[in-house]
Amino acid sequence: MCADFDFEGQGTFRRIPPPTEQLIDRSREVESKLPGTPVPDDAWRVFFSVSCGVMDMGHFTRMFEARRIALSYMAVQRARFARRHGSATGFRCVAD
């Protein structure tokens, strides 16, 4: 998509991390469970590619919503994992 084009940067491309396989899989899984007609594979390829393409606006809205839900889900999972394992909380027990 056009997400790589930085309008404020006078047309220079900015580096963004590519979507992870996990995000793509989770987004497609969420989308498949949304009510309505599933979007075709071609639309997914355009949606997650760095190049521009054409897609149906209804498909875009559906995929965008699925991606948003997937990102939220993964963020919660990561936070929960970190909390469960305490890696990011700063709590620790030190023996003297």
Partner: protein
């Protein structure tokens, strides 16, 4: 979840407990309030504020010990009839009870031990006593002083363990298996000792001093408040929490955990927050369930019924109640 009862006891609730199916609440200004089918029952316990409360478990369940500014130590049993156990004429600031009926209380530098036959022995410490706790076997008493922690053998009153460190203890507790001794102090950390080896450890990461803690039913976890979340420290291994990281629970960016209470049979923790919200959080990391929200300010105490289906709560502004866990 459904509300069973709600009442206003007029001042901050220090302690909540169950006597059968009925909840009892102890207020800061010296009242014991019980709500029964017959209505609200108020029982004045102290002339002045209450400084320490202990509610007994097991066969003595429903009995509460209180100590206050009037220098009295009172025991109120299941019939809500207060009995004066001791009077020392000065503030009694620390209180501890042993399952077999002995109690310990402290006023200034003096620690008093009253056994089940009502004979009282006195010990004088080198400084003001800050915290008391019996071990679960009932043969030792931990005494927290400024910069020092003593463990006393009850039969001989001999000090068997003396530990020095820098800190002012606010509460002290033995682990349910009596292998560890944990001290909360006015600094933002917990100190612990493994008693067989006297190996010391510190539990770090807190943003403020710990004000509430609770042991899980199986004794494998110690849950404490910790700012915006609660922390579960593992005590299941040989060395307890040493070298391990805890699990955090119930984080809310908009409020702070004010009290915690472990479920009597499951790995569940009831969390009370400064904005009056109460959550039920599973240690397995499932999404928390909302128990209710009180309008009485910070939740100051939570207590499960021994059947694990009822929860009593009290708040800083005196709003109290009982919640049934569906």
């Amino acid at each position: 979840m459904r509300w069973i009862s709600q009442l206003d006891i007029g001042s901050a609730c220090l302690s909540a407990m169950f006597n059968g199916e009925h909840a009892k609440f102890v207020s800061l200004d010296g009242l014991l309030v019980t709500l029964t089918e017959l209505g609200r029952c108020e029982c004045p316990l102290h002339d002045g504020d209450i400084l320490a409360t202990v509610d007994l478990a097991g066969p003595m369940g429903g009995t509460v010990l209180t100590a206050g500014e009037d220098g009295n130590v009172m025991m109120t049993g299941q019939q809500n009839a207060p009995e004066q156990l001791a009077s020392v004429g000065r503030w009694v600031s620390c209180l501890a009870a042993q399952p077999e009926g002995a109690i310990a209380y402290a006023s200034g530098r003096n620690v008093y031990l009253r056994d089940s036959s009502a004979s009282v022995r006195r010990m004088q410490m080198s400084g003001p006593v800050q915290a008391l706790a019996f071990n679960h076997q009932g043969d030792q008493l931990a005494i927290g002083l400024f910069d020092r922690l003593l463990v006393c053998q009850l039969s001989t009153l001999e000090i068997t363990i003396e530990i020095e460190w820098k800190g002012v203890p606010t509460r002290v507790a033995f682990s349910p298996d009596d292998r560890f001794l944990i001290v909360a102090c006015r600094d933002a950390l917990l100190y612990g000792w493994r008693l067989d080896s006297q190996r010391r450890f510190r539990m770090l990461g807190y943003s403020r001093p710990v004000s509430a803690w609770s042991w899980s039913a199986d004794g494998e976890w110690l849950v404490t408040d910790a700012g915006a979340q609660a922390v579960m420290w593992p005590f299941d291994g040989q060395d307890g929490p040493m070298g391990r990281v805890p699990v955090t629970l119930g984080e809310r960016p908009t409020s702070e955990v004010s009290t915690v209470e472990c479920h009597p049979s499951r790995h569940w923790v009831a969390l009370g927050y400064a904005d009056g919200l109460m959550l039920l959080q599973s240690a397995e990391g499932d999404a928390p369930k909302v128990l209710g929200r009180s309008t009485g300010g910070p939740v100051t105490c939570l207590r499960w019924h021994e059947n694990g289906e009822l929860l009593a709560y009290g708040t800083e502004n005196g709003q109290c109640g009982t919640i049934a866990i569906a």
